[in-house]
Amino acid sequence: MKILLVTSVHPWSRSVSTIQKWTRAGRALGHDVAVYGDPIPDLPSLPRTTDLDGVDIAVLVLQVAADLPGMPRLARLLDRIPRERRVVADLWGRFNDTVRVEHDFNHLEKLDEHQGWEWVDAMQAFSEIITQPALSPLRPNVRSFLFHGYERGSVARHYEHAGEAAAAWRAAGASEKPYGAMYIGSNWQRWDQVRRFLLDYEPVRARIGRACLMGWHWDSRPEFAVRLGLKGIDTDAALLAELDVQVHQGVRFDEVTRLLGKARFVPVFHRPLFRHLGLVTVRTFETFYADALPVLLLPRDLVAAIYGEAALELVPGDSLAEHLTLAMERPEDHWDAVLKTRRHLARHHSFAQRLCELEALVRGAGRGGMAS
């Protein structure tokens, strides 16, 4: 199949890691997968194309308004690829009524100059096959298609069994793992969760190691957030200093796995909107590539459904400190859960699986299988 991914890509943000893996996995399976547009100097290995001949499926991967190409490429795309071969992957839940969860939202005109109906109309113009990376999208005419996936080959370090992993993890010194916990991701609607994590982590910080945040806007509230009055992008430099949290700017997507491995624990958060809509992200899967123990700060039912039952071991109970202390004392149990989860992810969430799901979506629609 010739698959065209239509989206904007940026080495430091959003879903570039997933996009890269789609192209790589697709090509490994004999498909021609490329991103619509000209080559990007910062991403020389990412296949790009403007050749629309013979495209079997075009996937509009929509997160921000810029993901929709401008003219004249938009016209070529819509005129040359039949509607029934086009799919929308609505990664941020835009194809919904306007939702506000805590400070988070799916539409905000003052931020991107688009109202909710504009997102909805544009997606419907692109395709009848509208998907979201959720197991149960809210709207009945939206299909579940997780889009993000797990690439076994991206795991930083493979272990035969939990004992081996736990031994390596335990033996890692300060030079290998200078941090007790690390979160990589930008400060976008995550501050409340991160703050709570850091406060809960404080009792065990001295024993496990300092925490690190890597991403944009953890050091100070950005000017645009102040100007637009956006909450949910708050930060507290004094608190971070008091908790001895190391703060770094954002990192390239291809550095994430290696850097996460510098910590013992790597939390997984989903922003409030995503929790509400049940949306998964790049980091939902990518965190399991790292040579570190994930801490799944996610709803248990979502964890079981996506990661498998074994992953529930990685969900803290009421006390984060107790959970981490236990992991420090008996890492074998946690690593056992990690290795089982990795196998589950490889079996159920590979990009090969995603390709099959995509093809089935298009075939199903072609047979009139779409919900109305």
């Binding site: 308004a65 929709l68 190409p69 401008g70 003219m71 004249p72 490429r73 938009l74 016209a75 070529r76 819509l78 005129d79 509607r83 100059e113 688009h114 504009e118 997102w119 109309d121 544009a122 113009a125 692109f126």
Partner: protein
Amino acid sequence: MNVLFIMKTRGDAGSTHAVANYARVAGRHGHAVAIYGEPIRYVPDLPMSTEIESFDRVVYLFESELYQIKPMHQAVMLARFPRDARLIVDTDGMYRPLIHLDGYDFNHRSEAERAAWVDHVDSLGDHVVHTVLPSARDGRVGALPFFGYDPQSRMPASSAPLKTYDILHLGHNWWRWRQVSSELLPAIGQIRDQVGRIAFVGLWWDRPPTEGPAAGPEEAFQSDPGLMRRLRIEMPQAVMYHDVIKTMSSARINILTQRPLLRHLRHLTLKYFEIFCADTIPLLMLDRDHAEAVYGPAARELVLSGNVAAKLLDALRRPDDYRQVVDDVRRHLVAHHSYDRLVEHLVATFGT
């Protein structure tokens, strides 16, 4: 046929006014015309619509700027209107080979700019029309006169405002300075003491655009406000499209100029026709043959060339004679350039 225009709307621009005229007469022919967008507060009678589903054809109208709607809206348009339901109207000669005239006016600065423009237009559709009289020379690109004469807009002498001015020029200073400064102003200078008030109504005569280079090439706005003031030429603000004819009617003579590129390409503009709706004597700084082709043979008398100063004085001194000529031209315009004809022409351009 219900036709939606996608275009930059400006209350003081000819294309906007023309489409308002199409919208007004379209109903008489069983059609509907509107401009895509929300109602505009300061031109509330402009026919705006965002009800895309109500339309079955779309016109992308481009002037000298590659006007674009938001990609999300564009996606909806492209999905709604297949290629054969799209028409591109090129009012400013941009969908043409690269043209540079005498080191002054041009359609594109470079071949690369032109190629990007053409690429954009080609991506939108296969059917492009220039706003010219039909001609055998047009090749694969069609012709649609587009701008027309609206007798209902005619300002009768009984309703016309007092003739405040002897001479008026109504139009923005957009590539007009060379013609104005080399032909018109010297003539005005020769006869200034024999003429009453003179005004150039429009933007950029007294100062360049406040937007700076973003507004367009610097040369396009070239002017000498000091010279204008020395000639006691007033430079009032631009007027909204619905005040153009009334404003023109406040002068005994109105002068029609056209930027060199459009004159060279023989593109029509709304001003060609508005000036004959006004209660005034139009004098035309156009090529004589072209004037006849548009306005009929009588218009040769109204062409302002050669001894411009003498012609201006002649028109001021023999207004009744000139009014006869103007009436002849108006009869020609009613017969050949009405919006009723143009609406049918537009519909025919789409085919059925």
